[in-house]
Subunit: 351 residues, 2 copies
């Protein structure tokens, strides 16, 4: 049966590939909306890029909802802004209890130099992609859109968050009934059995808002985690990506330019990947077909302070609880995923 | 078929329970020797305690071989002795290339205050246990004993190391042919999906000699890791342990005194365990019957510097290698293990 699908993206190179994968999976899922979060880029650019990519693929029918545009606690500014661990914990607590957020500075969130290096300041590898003729929905509308869709669709709804988890955590905080609604949340983020990619502890998406991810893992929601554990096993080679050039379509040229930039980064910084990571597309693929990955159940937390900040790790206080809230993907059928990825994306690029 | 079994112990409270479990498993395995490593206590005390425990259980036929008595690199003394990361890396390299060891100080290894707190200065919870009438074998004889046994028994040999991995790593460094000999190495140590127990990163056994553990995971040997991932799921309650008191035997009284001390520590410091961890006995049980645990294959490394020193984590350079050298236990059949533990240990205590 075809699922209803929402992508919560910080679009982003691999986010753009995830959109292509989702559009190429029309037999499995109906992409009913994209919500914009931050991480690779800020929310306004994430929304702009999602609209532009949809336009390039001829899908101006899919709405884009901007989400929460900053983390719960001002964690990236502990020295610059003089916040302390206690102040961050207090911000997190205020937020858990229903405060709008814990952010108490006037400095807008902006991507880290690392994110800019990976995705280019324009988020899509410097590729020139025209603006969509459309505008995003109202600022902050992502939370209400997801809650309404979850109430309507229940277990038929799959959400794939691939950036900061702030919007997703806010959904469950604002609508606690959704924890048991059967909606499927398959997130790209975290790293349980490998070092992180922004610190020895932290994976990029989790590091953007560790408090939000911690809340998501502990709040009772059922999640599937597609982290570096599996996404570092799947790589797109330059040779494969260049197959899209032969299609002679603007969409194909766009993807080649974008992935060339991404692969250049990986060749220089993570040559052991042998290509570029297919983080977000793998999350979409696993959400639509869980048989692509092998999962194991855990109850997770996110470390919030010190050099371990942003680490996804088992919650020792729940290790003896037989009810595991997060299925963590540890294995992946690499050839099956790569074949499907190329088939589905190529079909969309061909038009 | 009955296996040949060697326990490489830093005896220790749960090591003493592991000896009892092994002796109670005579139908599965023939305990052909105990080798002494360090961690809970220093090697001489580990050998003394192993002999004393064997004597208490009426098994003066099993030889005890002292192993390497200090880590490869003087890692515990970086500030005190002025060693640097570069000096430690150099010590590790010298050792890998066949040097006797990298230890370049005149300070003997001694257990950390944490180990002393967990196991008491006498290693067995302050219980009074008479010396064995026997002496240990020659100092350092553990390496040669294990190599000879592995050459003789091949896949019929199971080794269960439960302390610092120095002796085990030296075995594979000195006899590289054993990597493909089919011997089964099921180690208690590490923590892949939970925080460590001596730091947010490090589990105690690995932290004693991170270089040795790193070598063991990378050298090509086939290992099974029984870490905190599963040992924190299995706990011995005070109520269960006190069943041994009713047996009215000196061995039973010894185990009750010892485990009371251990459980006191856990109640105070890790109440979420609901008893005391059965780390080492679970490793023996899983070595003898792998069906008690659920494992997943990984290629591991050990972090060697900074706040992550001693962390067991996936080796990113080998994540795409389909050949996984370590099976990490992530799940455990808790009721089956606890039943078997009580049956086998109680049978030995009853005499």
């Amino acid at each position: 049966m075809r699922k209803k699908l929402i992508l919560d993206l910080d679009t982003g190179i691999d986010d753009a590939l995830a959109i292509a994968y989702a559009l190429g999976s029309a037999g499995d899922a109906d992409l009913i909306g994209i919500t914009a979060t931050y991480g690779n880029v800020a929310v306004p650019l994430a929304a702009r890029n999602a609209l532009a990519v949809l336009h390039a693929f001829g899908r101006d029918d899919i709405p884009v909802y901007p989400g929460i545009d900053h983390p719960i606690a001002p964690a990236k500014l502990p020295l610059m802004r003089g916040t302390t661990p206690d102040e961050r914990a207090e911000a997190y607590r205020r937020w858990q209890e229903g405060g709008e957020d814990g952010w108490q500075t006037d400095t807008p969130w902006s991507p880290s130099p690392g994110s800019v290096a990976v995705h280019h300041p324009n988020g899509i590898g410097g590729a020139v992609l025209p603006d969509s003729p459309r505008q995003p929905e109202a600022p902050g509308s992502a939370v209400d859109f997801i809650i309404a869709a979850a109430r309507e669709c229940g277990p038929d709804l799959t959400i794939v968050p691939t950036g900061a988890m702030t919007t997703m955590a806010t959904v469950f905080r604002n609508a606690p009934d959704l924890k048991d609604s059967g909606i499927n949340v398959t997130l790209m983020g975290g790293s349980l059995t490998l070092p992180g990619n922004v610190s020895p502890a932290a994976e990029a998406n989790i590091s953007q808002d560790p408090e939000a991810a911690d809340y998501l893992f502990k709040c009772g929601a059922r999640t599937t985690m597609i982290g570096l554990d599996v996404t570092h096993q799947t790589a797109l080679t330059r040779e494969k990506a260049h197959e899209w050039a032969a299609l002679g379509t603007p969409a194909g040229d766009f993807l080649v330019t974008m992935t060339d930039y991404y692969i250049d980064f990986y060749v220089k910084n993570q040559p052991e990947i042998h290509g570029c990571g297919l983080h977000d597309p793998l999350a979409v693929a696993a959400a639509l077909d869980p048989s692509l990955v092998t999962t194991f159940g855990f109850n997770l937390q996110v470390d919030l302070e010190g050099p371990f900040r942003g680490r996804t790790i088992g919650d020792r206080s729940r290790v003896q609880d037989p009810d595991k809230h997060t299925q963590v993907a540890l294995g992946v059928n690499v050839p099956a995923f790569l074949d499907r990825f190329m088939q589905r994306v190529t079909a969309v690029v061909r038009g």
